[in-house]
Every structure is written in structure tokens, then in C-alpha cells.
């Protein structure tokens, strides 16, 4: 009896204390910045993209802080270097979770996200992919989600477009032999074949290769109507350059990694006709993108590498704002589980640069914007919904 009364009093006291303490905790938190983690390649062969992604994220942080921060707290970005290497990616994930005590972090590059996924699942920390496109990312576990459309979105739509609109029937698929290339190349092959086309060359190249003559001669012998290259920023221009030098003049398609001004510089006239995908609206589709681009050019004095990816990096902070504000409204602590709940419950997010994001399980679907190179510049070609 005494125990029951005692327990009841203790519970009431605890609840009352907690209720009184909650605003105090929020006030204490208000003084502390809210840390958001982003794993990026800031050195290494992918640093050209990674460094620009970081600038995009910082722009998002500046704007969110200028708009009052997240739930009254200023945002502090914690960006760590992965060099786009899986092992370093695991180290970064451990640092975010073990040292920075973050309940959620963002990451990019397929091989890195795949390596970090077991850590995030084990520690029940939310990992949101914000730039990798391997279809396998949708199957990496309960705590791994994506804000960036996976290859099945742009690659499948592109493959269908090539067959149905461009009328190409024989395609060659050349891809880098890593997580970025392998899955996407299979998707392209399967979609193009299912549409009725024929894949006449399906060839992978070593990620460190600089000489592609043999592979390209195989392609020349097969005489395709179109060539799809699924590589990275460093190797794709070299493959196209050597292709043109060997007399292969077929139209080339690629994905968003090839939507890069440096590629135009390196290839000049050889880039004409190249078709790339973009998973974010362009300057003509969204005036905010034009403002972002003008601001970028003013601050950096140049064009960004991979504008669509940068739009996603910018929006990452606004996505975080939506998640944390959900927790604040529900008075929930920030953990991997509650943030995951917020992501799944809110489901639809209106983001300033990339538009509406609707979560579909572990995937998101978005329109695909096709661009082609005309007179040395990327120009809109079609929008695939």
C-alpha cells in the first residue's frame, strides 16, 4: 500500500517535474546550435563535386539560420571528408555517431552510403542519401532513406526516351566498374531491352583506367545507334574524347554526373549532342534556382559543378528543418527513431530548390529533366514525368 502510494506520488512528481523542466530544456537547447552532419568527398578524385556540394549545403545553412534557424536553434554544419571511399565513409559515420552524437546524418556516393548503412542500422541513426543513385540504396535497411532519386528514376526514363522518342534500337552501355556504374548500367540494359531495343555492347571499365581504346573498338565493331556512358566526372570526358578520336560519332547519353561545365571545357565540340539528365528543376523551371545560381556566381566567380546535386545539398537543410520542427511540435527527443518517424509521417516536403519531395517507401520519385549540349552549352531537351 505504502509502496503503491509512494510510487504514485513519485510518478506525479516526476511528470510535473518533467513538464516544468521541458521549456527549460528547450531554452537550454535554444542556446546550443543544432548540428547537421554531411559526409562528402572533400579530397580525392571526386573533390571537385564534393567541395561544391559543401558550398551548396553552407548556402542552405546560411539561409535557414537567416530565417530563424530550426526550432529556434541555429544550425551548425559538421562536414567530414570521405574521399568517396567506403572505408573512410565508415570512419565518418562512426565519428558522427560516436563523437558528434548526431541522431541523423546525410551522405552521398553510392559506395560510401552502402558502407555506412550497416553502421546506421546497427546504431539506429537515420542516414539520408542526398546524392548517390545506386538502386540498391532503397534496400539498405530500416534507417537508410533517400532524398535523392535513385538511378531507376532517371536511367529508366532516359532508356525509354532513347527508344521511344529518339528511335534508337541498338545501344552500347559503357560503365565504370563500381557501385555507381554497375547497378545503373543493368537498369539501362533491362529497360532498353524491355522496350524492344538491343544492347550490342555491355562493357565495364576499371575505375582507375585512363585508356579505353579496346573497349571503344569493341563498340565501334558493334556499330550501335547510341552510346550510354555511366561513369564519374573524371573518366566520362576521357571516354567521350577517345570515342570521338576513334571515329565513333554516335550520340552519347549519360546521367547527372555529366551535367558539368568542366566536361564542356574538356571536350569542346566533341560534347555536341550529348544528352544528360538532371533530377532537379532548372533556372527556367524554378526562379529560386536562378537566384541561387546568380548568388553562386557572385560568391564563387564561376559556375558550380553539378548544379542539380547542389540544389539537393541546399535543400538538405530545409528537409532537416521540417523533420526537427515535427519533433519540436510533438515534444519528441531527437533520436534516429523519432527522426525516422518524422520522415515517414510527414512524407511530403516542399523544398525550395528541388520542389516537392514525396517519400515512397525507401525511394522518392521526381520528374527527370533532360538536357543536351548545343553550341557549347547545356540546353533543355525534354521533361520526363
Amino acid at each position: 500500500m505504502t509502496r503503491r502510494i509512494g510510487t504514485g506520488i513519485s510518478r506525479r512528481l516526476l511528470l510535473a517535474g518533467a513538464a516544468l523542466a521541458a521549456p527549460a530544456i528547450r531554452r537550454a537547447h535554444a542556446a546550443e546550435p543544432l548540428k547537421i552532419g554531411n559526409a562528402l568527398p572533400l579530397t580525392g578524385s571526386q573533390a571537385g563535386y564534393g567541395s561544391d556540394f559543401l558550398i551548396g549545403t553552407k548556402m542552405g545553412v546560411t539561409d535557414v539560420n537567416a530565417a530563424g534557424g530550426i526550432a529556434g536553434r541555429t544550425v551548425e554544419l559538421v562536414a567530414l571528408d570521405t574521399q568517396a571511399e567506403p572505408q573512410l565513409g565508415i570512419n565518418v559515420a562512426n565519428r558522427f555517431i560516436g563523437v558528434e552524437k548526431l541522431p541523423m546524418f546525410y551522405s552521398s556516393w553510392s559506395q560510401v552510403v552502402k558502407a555506412q548503412a550497416p553502421v546506421a542500422n546497427r546504431e539506429k541513426v537515420l542516414l539520408i542519401n542526398n546524392g548517390a543513385n545506386s538502386p540498391e540504396i532503397a534496400t539498405l535497411g530500416d534507417y537508410v532513406y533517400t532524398a535523392f532519386p535513385l538511378a531507376e528514376v532517371d536511367v529508366t526514363k532516359l532508356a525509354r526516351y532513347v527508344y521511344t522518342v529518339l528511335g534508337k534500337r541498338r545501344a552500347a552501355v559503357l560503365y565504370i566498374n563500381n557501385d555507381t556504374g554497375i547497378d545503373a548500367a543493368k537498369l539501362y540494359r533491362d529497360t532498353f531491352t524491355a522496350a524492344g531495343g538491343q544492347i550490342v555492347v555491355f562493357e565495364a571499365y576499371d575505375p582507375k583506367a585512363t585508356e579505353f581504346t579496346g573497349m571503344l573498338l569493341k563498340t565501334r565493331a558493334a556499330n550501335p545507334d547510341i552510346v550510354h556512358i555511366h561513369g564519374l566526372t573524371a573518366d566520362t570526358p576521357q571516354v567521350i574524347a577517345q570515342m570521338r578520336q576513334l571515329g565513333l560519332n554516335q550520340r552519347v547519353t549519360s546521367y547527372s554526373a555529366a551535367y558539368n561545365p568542366k566536361l564542356l571545357e574538356q571536350l569542346g565540340a566533341a560534347a555536341e549532342g550529348l544528352i544528360v539528365t538532371s533530377l532537379a528543376p532548372g533556372v527556367k523551371d524554378n526562379p529560386k534556382v536562378a537566384t541561387l545560381l546568380d548568388r553562386w556566381k557572385t560568391e564563387q566567380g564561376r559556375m558550380p559543378n553539378g548544379l542539380p546535386y547542389i540544389q539537393y545539398q541546399y535543400d538538405m537543410i530545409w528537409l532537416s528543418k521540417a523533420l526537427y520542427e515535427y519533433l519540436d511540435k510533438k515534444s519528441l527527443p531527437a533520436t534516429g527513431d523519432t527522426l525516422r518517424e518524422a520522415l515517414l509521417t510527414v512524407g511530403t516536403f516542399e523544398l525550395p530548390m528541388t520542389g516537392r519531395m514525396v517519400l515512397d517507401g525507401h525511394r522518392v520519385n521526381k520528374p527527370v529533366y533532360l538536357l543536351t549540349v548545343e553550341k557549347g552549352a547545356f540546353v533543355p531537351l525534354a521533361t520526363l514525368t
Binding site: 571537385g48 562493357e203 576499371d206 585512363t210 581504346t213 569493341k218 576521357q238 571515329g247 571536350l267
Partner: protein, 294 residues
């Protein structure tokens, strides 16, 4: 795939692609012949050569005719500093081959580390455009880069041959390579021979890095991969046989190029490692030389 035009194209492109490796191998094998050292510091010199030319062309806006000589001066100076204040000090201390190996490898790693801090790790090319005009000769696509590469390799080897066989300095190098103490008895300076060798190797390195850097992207640690090819070709060619090593570099490139007829292109680089193991296990002359020196 076995069309004669395709086979001829693979042959030509293989030879052109081999050209910078021929130059690197000639410099590496000459150094091994004269000094008796597997000089892995040459990877660091390759990085110095490339980034000097890259900086001169892109930061200073110098023309090629100024950037390449600047590359030669800086790389030669670096090679001489390494020779005089590194390798010669170790020789005077009668250091073992393992010490030389560790010193040259660590030195390369250090140079690459410093260059990474200075230039970052984004792939860089010497020129903004990596395209080279192409002409079709008998159905074979021949780019201007191909012609320059083959011409530079052929000229480099011819000049080296002429130097080694037609000049007293070249004959001194051979004498020091054969027996340094005996050569010194005849008044030939081994130290001078080592320094001349360092400068010749630097010239070959600059030429090779110009070709590689104008054809594709380079990151600071690319030279560590390039030196691997030079090591394998040197082993295959035979220790002390500079021109045979250069021929082995062509052989390796052709094997890699023609392998595409039988294997997937992703496996091409694996062949190099196969040759490395085969050269070490089946061509023991180099290994025996190291054992004797120990």
C-alpha cells in the same frame, strides 16, 4: 572483332599509349643500370614534373615552350638534390639496399603528400581540352597526340642510344654501371655519372608527364601507379638492359590493349599484376642482383 582494321587500330593505339611508359621505363632502367638502385623517388619526380608544368601553364599562363623547359629545370634540380643530399649520403654510409628502397619510396610519398596539400586531389590535365585532332590513315584513326607521343619516345630512345654509344660521357656511364670502383681507378667520377644519370632520367620523366598530362587527368598519387609499369618492364627487359626494358614497356601495353579481344576491359589492369608476379618469379636476375648487393 578480328577485323584487320580493328587489329591494326589496337596495334597503333597500343604503341602510342605505350610511348610515355617507354620514356618512364628508359629513365628508370638507366638509373638502375648506372646506380644499381630501384629508385622509387622517380614517382615523386614525375609528380614534380607534372605539377610544375601544370602550374606554369594554368597559373602563370606561360606558353608550352616556356612551361616544358621550366619543368625540365625544376625536375632536374630536384633529381640532383635527391642524388647529392640523399642517395650520395646513404652511399657514403654504406647503407643497404633496403635503406635505399625505403628512402626513395618514403621520399616519393612525401613529395606527393606536399603536392596534394598544394594542388588538391582533383584530377588535372595540362590543357583545358583533352581532345587532339584526328586524321584517318588507311582506316586507322591517328591523333596528333599519338604522333607526338610516338615521335617523342622514338627520338628519346635514339638520343639515349647515341649518347650512350657515341659520347665519352655516355661511355663513362656504362663504365660506372659495369664496375664503379674500377671506373674510378681510371679517373671516371662515379658521382658525376650518377648526377648525369639523374638529369637524363629527369628529362625522360618530363617528356612522359607532358604526354600523360595532355591526354587525361592526373592526381598527385598517379605517379605511384605509373612507376609500377616501369618496374615491371625493367624486370621483364632484364636488369641493365635499358632498351630491352623500353621494348618490354611496349610489349606490356600491347598485351593490355589486345587482351580486350579476349577479356572484359575491367580486367586489363589485372594483367599488370600478373606480369609483376611472373617477372619476379620467372625472371630472377633482378632479384639475384638485389640479393648480391645485400
Amino acid at each position: 572483332m578480328f577485323d584487320p582494321v580493328i587489329l591494326a587500330q589496337i596495334l597503333w593505339t597500343g604503341i602510342a599509349t605505350a610511348s610515355p611508359f617507354v620514356l618512364l621505363t628508359a629513365g628508370f632502367a638507366l638509373t638502375l643500370k648506372v646506380t644499381g638502385l630501384w629508385n622509387f623517388a622517380q614517382a615523386g619526380l614525375m609528380a614534380i614534373a607534372f605539377y610544375t608544368m601544370f602550374f606554369a601553364l594554368n597559373a602563370f599562363g606561360l606558353p608550352v615552350v616556356a612551361a616544358v623547359p621550366l619543368g625540365v629545370v625544376v625536375t632536374s634540380a630536384a633529381a640532383l638534390v635527391i642524388e647529392a643530399y640523399g642517395l650520395q649520403v646513404l652511399r657514403e654510409r654504406h647503407s643497404g639496399n633496403l635503406t635505399f628502397f625505403i628512402f626513395t619510396l618514403i621520399l616519393s610519398e612525401f613529395i606527393i603528400y606536399v603536392l596534394t596539400l598544394a594542388f588538391g586531389t582533383e584530377p588535372q590535365t595540362l590543357f583545358k581540352s583533352i581532345l587532339s585532332p584526328v586524321s584517318i590513315i588507311g582506316d586507322i584513326a591517328v591523333s596528333d597526340w599519338d604522333k607526338v607521343a610516338v615521335a617523342m619516345a622514338a627520338t628519346g630512345l635514339a638520343l639515349l642510344w647515341g649518347f650512350m654509344h657515341g659520347t665519352r660521357e655516355g661511355q663513362f656511364l656504362t663504365a660506372v654501371a659495369d664496375n664503379a670502383p674500377l671506373a674510378e681507378l681510371y679517373g671516371i667520377s662515379a658521382i658525376r655519372a650518377y648526377r648525369v644519370t639523374a638529369v637524363i632520367a629527369a628529362l625522360f620523366i618530363v617528356a612522359a608527364m607532358y604526354l600523360i598530362g595532355s591526354h587525361g587527368g592526373i592526381v598527385p598519387n598517379t605517379p605511384l601507379e605509373l612507376v609500377l609499369t616501369a618496374v615491371i618492364a625493367t624486370l621483364l627487359g632484364g636488369i641493365g638492359r635499358v632498351f630491352a626494358a623500353a621494348a618490354a614497356a611496349v610489349f606490356l601495353a600491347l598485351i593490355q590493349s589486345f587482351s580486350i579481344l579476349f577479356i572484359d576491359s575491367r580486367w586489363q589492369n589485372l594483367l599488370l599484376y600478373g606480369f609483376l608476379f611472373a617477372a619476379i618469379l620467372l625472371f630472377p636476375r633482378g632479384v639475384r642482383l638485389i640479393a648480391i648487393r645485400r
